[in-house]
Each structure stands twice: as structure tokens, then as C-alpha cells.
Amino acid sequence: MVDDGERAPSPEETLRLIEEQRAATVRRFRGDPLFLYVPWGVAWLLGFTCFFLHYGLDGKPYAPISQTQALAVLMISMVIAGSLAAYEITRMNMGVRGESPARGAMYGYTWFAGMIVMSIIAIRVSPMLPEAEAGLLWSGVSMLVVGVMYMAGGAIFLYWPMFFAGVGVIAVNGLGVLLGPGWHALLTAVLLGVGQIVVGLWWRRRQCR
């Protein structure tokens, strides 16, 4: 018997209603991939394409882009991507208190700490290296932090797609560092940059269904 004058839904309707509400709630609290993942893909695509054009695959530049200009493009794009992600994470946690926001805040601080210490290490060590190797150090260590944080995020939020995204970043980064600066930039731009954009849009489409 249902009070409030509502018609009793059939079992099929009830299960559909539960699933629709669950999906809407997940969308609200897991965030929009368009803000969380796609901007990072765009940043890597733009920044590492500039690095690739600067290094070339055989040591000869493909375009007159200096390392400083390439680094500036990557850093500016990453700051924009980080700002969009921070905005979305704030929106996700708005009106919620308890374990999830606390977990999210600690995870955010860990990102920040990782990136700061990574920069300190690169600033300290890169002057001792040739220009191309110094660039590879910056790229390789920063993508290591990204990969590890994605994998850790997957574990913390029990979200396998995020964990596997981290595995992909770690694998491509490791292979790229072994092959050298030009290849690292190319693989990161194409596989991780384009890959992150495609996967982000696919997640969004799946969430909106």
C-alpha cells in the first residue's frame, strides 16, 4: 500500500527508478569528466606537441619552438586544467560533509605536495643535465606523479577506470623515458593527451546515458 496518493509502481518501474536515481547521484558526486579529465588531455596534447616539435625524433627540431616556449605552453595549459578540476571538485563536494569530502581534500593536498616536491627535485637536478635530458626529467617525473596519483585515486575512491588510466600513464611514461625526449613527447601528446580526451568524453557520454 502506498500512501501520499501515489500510484504503486511496478517492480520493473521501481528498479528503473532506483537505477536512474543511483546514476544521477553518481554523476553529481563523481564529477563531470569534461572538467576533470578532458582539460588535462588538452594540456598534454598542446604542451607535449610543442616539446615534440622542439626535440624532433632524430635530434633536429621540426619547428622553431624553444624549450622555454614549450614549457610555458605546457605549464599554462596545466594551470588552466588544474583550475577547472579544482572548480569541479569544489562543486562536487558542495553541500556534503563527512568522509568523502575529507578523503577528497587529502587527495587534493597530496597532488599539490607531489607536484611541489617534483618541481624542487627537477629544479635542483636539471642544471646538471644536458638541455634535452633536463626536459625529459621534468616531463618524466611530472607524469610519474600524475600516474601514481591516478592509480592511488582509483584505490581511494574504488574506481577501476581511474586506476587503469594511471596504469596507462605510468606505462607510456616509462616507455617514453627509455626511448628519449622526442619519443617521450610524441607518445605523451598522442597516447596520453588524445587518449585522455577520448576517454574523458567517453566517460561523460556513459554517465549521461
Partner: protein, 107 residues
């Protein structure tokens, strides 16, 4: 064809679409999380008055916990699903699935 005869066995507190959506949404959130009343209202697309009525019924059944507090000088109301509410929702979904299975088996 629905198993209309078995419907009265379902938990009447949850078996109303509006309250079912409230409980389903709260159940999807983490066990240690609470959601502010306006955020829940927006998530469900309900009016404040309607949501308030349903929350009162759920609270009376011991399925939700309503905490009134202050954020600075602004009063804030947080809502969360109790353990009892989680168990009731779990039992409810099991019963619905069983109904669906039996309806499928007889057709």
C-alpha cells in the same frame, strides 16, 4: 504484468516513488557522508515542502538522520541514511527483485 498481490508486503515507507528516490540517492552516497537539505532538494528536483514531508516520514521510521546545525550564522540541515535505513533499502530491493523473478517465472 506486475505482481500486484505481493506489493503490500513491500516496506510501505520506502514504496512511494518520492521516498524511494530519497533513499536510493542517500544509499548511493558513502556511509559516513551527510548531504545538506538544499543539495538533496536540487539532486532530487523536489520542492522544499515536498522533500521535508517525505524526510519527516523517513525520520519517523528511523531510516534517515536529520542533523540541524550552523555554518557560521546560517542554519544548515544535513540528512543521512541510518544503518536501519540502509538495511531497509537493501531488503526492499531484494524483495522487488524477488517479485520480478516470480512474475517472470509465472509468465
Amino acid at each position: 504484468m506486475t505482481a500486484g498481490g505481493a506489493v503490500p508486503e513491500l516496506d510501505p515507507v520506502i514504496h512511494a516513488q518520492a521516498r524511494l528516490r530519497v533513499v536510493a540517492a542517500l544509499n548511493t552516497m558513502g556511509g559516513g557522508d551527510e548531504i545538506a537539505f538544499p543539495a538533496l532538494k536540487d539532486l532530487l528536483g523536489m520542492t522544499a515542502g515536498n522533500l521535508s514531508v517525505h524526510l519527516t516520514k523517513l525520520e519517523e521510521a528511523g531510516y534517515v538522520q536529520i542533523t540541524k546545525t550552523h555554518k557560521g550564522r546560517t542554519p544548515v540541515t544535513y540528512v543521512s541514511l541510518t544503518k536501519r535505513g540502509r538495511v531497509a533499502f537493501d531488503d526492499y530491493t531484494k524483495a522487488i527483485r524477488a517479485l520480478l523473478d516470480s512474475a517472470g517465472g509465472t509468465s
